[in-house]
């Protein structure tokens, strides 16, 4: 992927972000730093606030305190369309494509902010990254398989060459083999091409393998953070997934 694209990554920095849906905050005081060329991952059990953090960064969920900046420019609580214009590409976990639109139209919507002339050329480039999509440009996005749909969702975001990618569980509902290749080829590839990537994943081991740094969330707070090597060596890390202080049963499966 790095061969086809070169992305001008910009740093994303979130400091002390507290956010929620009106009642008690779902995430409290979370700070995350993503630099160009890095894959930073967020892992943790369901309900730990990973998706809410991403949503607060892109302006979907309101931040009650804390700041977010992209390339040094503050984007805290800007509406989603303005965050997108600031160079942040966001792939939500569900409803990630325009189902009634064709694949090509989905990509065109991804390139909505581009001058008209550039759109065709960018579509070509996205197709070079996701060759699987080339044969199905006229097909309705709602009729794609899970893996194709996710590629389209990522391709749609890629249209704008964003400096920052926020990916919310891109491998959910994908077969393990497709999931691994998506992470290794495409997600890592984005960072290799120069972008800053922040990814939420449930498949902790797989995402650790492609991350530069990982944050473990629990109960709306950062419980642990470190490099993959540090975390893999930590029994608490495994416990945070399978609980109960029986980490030794699974440590053998680390990679």
């Amino acid at each position: 992927m790095s061969a086809e694209v070169s992305l001008a990554g910009v740093p994303l920095r979130a400091e002390g972000v507290t956010a929620g849906y009106g009642g008690d905050p779902v995430i409290r005081g979370i700070s995350v730093d993503v630099q160009p060329g890095q894959v930073i991952s967020l892992v943790g059990p369901n309900g730990s606030g990973k998706s809410t953090l991403l949503k607060s960064l892109v302006g979907v969920v309101r931040i009650s305190s804390g700041t977010v900046s992209v390339g040094g420019r503050p984007v805290t609580n800007l509406p989603p369309e303005e965050v997108a214009r600031a160079g942040v590409g966001y792939v939500p976990q569900v409803d990630d494509v325009f189902a009634p639109l064709t694949v090509k139209e989905n990509l065109e919507m991804g390139g909505y902010l581009l001058p008209h002339k550039q759109v065709a050329e960018r579509i070509e480039r996205v197709l070079a990254v996701f060759p699987r999509l080339s044969g199905m440009l006229g097909r309705g996005a709602g009729k794609l398989s899970g893996g194709e749909r996710k590629m389209l969702a990522m391709g749609r975001v890629l249209m704008l060459d964003p400096g920052v990618f926020l990916l919310d569980e891109p491998t959910a509902n994908l077969a393990p083999i497709i999931a691994t290749s998506l992470l290794e080829e495409h997600v890592r590839g984005l960072a290799t091409s120069g972008a800053s990537v922040l990814i939420v994943e449930q498949r902790a081991k797989a995402v650790l393998a492609i991350s530069d740094r990982t944050y473990v969330l629990g109960g709306g707070e950062v419980r642990m953070e470190g490099t993959p090597a540090e975390l893999s060596a930590s029994p608490e890390f495994v416990d945070s997934f399978l609980g109960g202080g029986h980490g030794h049963h699974v440590r053998s499966t680390e990679g």
Partner: protein, 290 residues
């Protein structure tokens, strides 16, 4: 037989007027998520604007253009001043329908208060009559049909080939995702109201031309036809609305020509079609199966 053919001719004219209105209505609902029952009231408001222009000795065709602008303006106003504030509060769809009924009364009877309760007509010539393949149509009727076909082609082109049209479809499909693409959906929605409002104004004026004479409550029944066409094709589906308009328009007029049906019951077909669709398949003929 000739009566039957003539009724098909009437049916095609009705379908032409209906198609413009139904496409406007369904686009409005699909993109903005408001089931705007005041659509009929805005139609008749626009028709009266054209009448006002016409009364001052200006051609009704100029009036038609001004009526489109007026419909557009009123629709945008309706959205910004009323519907959007309610939606921002998280008002339930059923309450939105009640609000739109309230707006119907305000607009429709506001027009009646200003225009009086009597029926009026445009000062216009219906032009020469053409006969072809058993159909008899006046020039104005032919023009209405041509306008309708052009509008349908225009809507098709807009939705398929223009950036705005695609953004409208994207906003209808998934508003949040559209915003994540950098689309300023607030503007898209305002433009949708402007555009569908213009269609509404156009529909209102050609409806009034076709009807001959009209008063402030003339679109009450026509709204039933619009709803029938919209639900037949599936709410929010522009192509469905076109199909629904043709079916409802032609079926309405043809049923009126049948010997055992009284002319005044021609609406019953549309009514039954609407109820059946609501009861059996609310997503419409072209909609997704649930």
């Amino acid at each position: 037989m000739s009566l039957f053919l003539a009724s098909i001719g009437f049916g095609l004219v009705t379908a032409s007027v209906l198609a413009i209105a139904a496409v406007g209505f369904t686009l409005q609902f699909g993109v903005t998520d408001v089931l705007n029952l005041a659509f009929g009231a805005v139609m008749i408001f626009s028709a009266f604007v054209a009448y006002l222009v016409n009364e001052n000795g200006i051609s009704v065709w100029i009036g038609l253009l001004i009526a489109m602008a007026a419909g557009s303006l009123l629709s945008v106003l309706l959205n910004t001043a009323v519907y959007t504030p309610f939606q921002r509060r998280g008002t339930s769809p059923i309450t939105m329908v009640i609000v739109s009924l309230g707006m119907t009364l305000i607009i429709e009877f506001g027009v009646q208060a200003l225009a009086g309760g009597t029926a009026v007509s445009y000062a216009m010539s219906n032009g020469p009559t053409y006969k072809a393949a058993g159909l008899t149509l006046t020039l104005v009727q032919v023009i209405i049909m041509v306008i309708s076909v052009l509008v349908m082609l225009g809507v098709h082109g807009l939705l398929r080939y223009t950036k705005l049209g695609k953004a409208m479809r994207a906003t209808a499909a998934n508003r949040n995702l559209a915003r994540n693409c950098g689309i300023r959906t607030g503007r898209v929605i305002t433009l949708t109201w402007a555009l569908t409002g213009a269609l509404c104004g156009l529909a209102g004026t050609v409806f009034a031309m076709d009807a001959g004479s009209f008063d402030a409550t003339a679109t009450d029944i026509f709204l039933v036809l619009i709803l029938a066409a919209v639900f037949l094709g599936g709410p929010g589906q522009p192509y469905g609305a076109m199909l629904g308009a043709v079916i409802i328009g032609v079926a309405t007029e043809v049923s009126a020509s049948l010997p055992f049906v009284q002319a005044d019951y021609k609406y019953v077909f549309a009514f039954v079609a609407l109820l059946v669709m609501l009861g059996v398949r609310p997503t419409g003929l072209l909609g997704e199966r649930t």
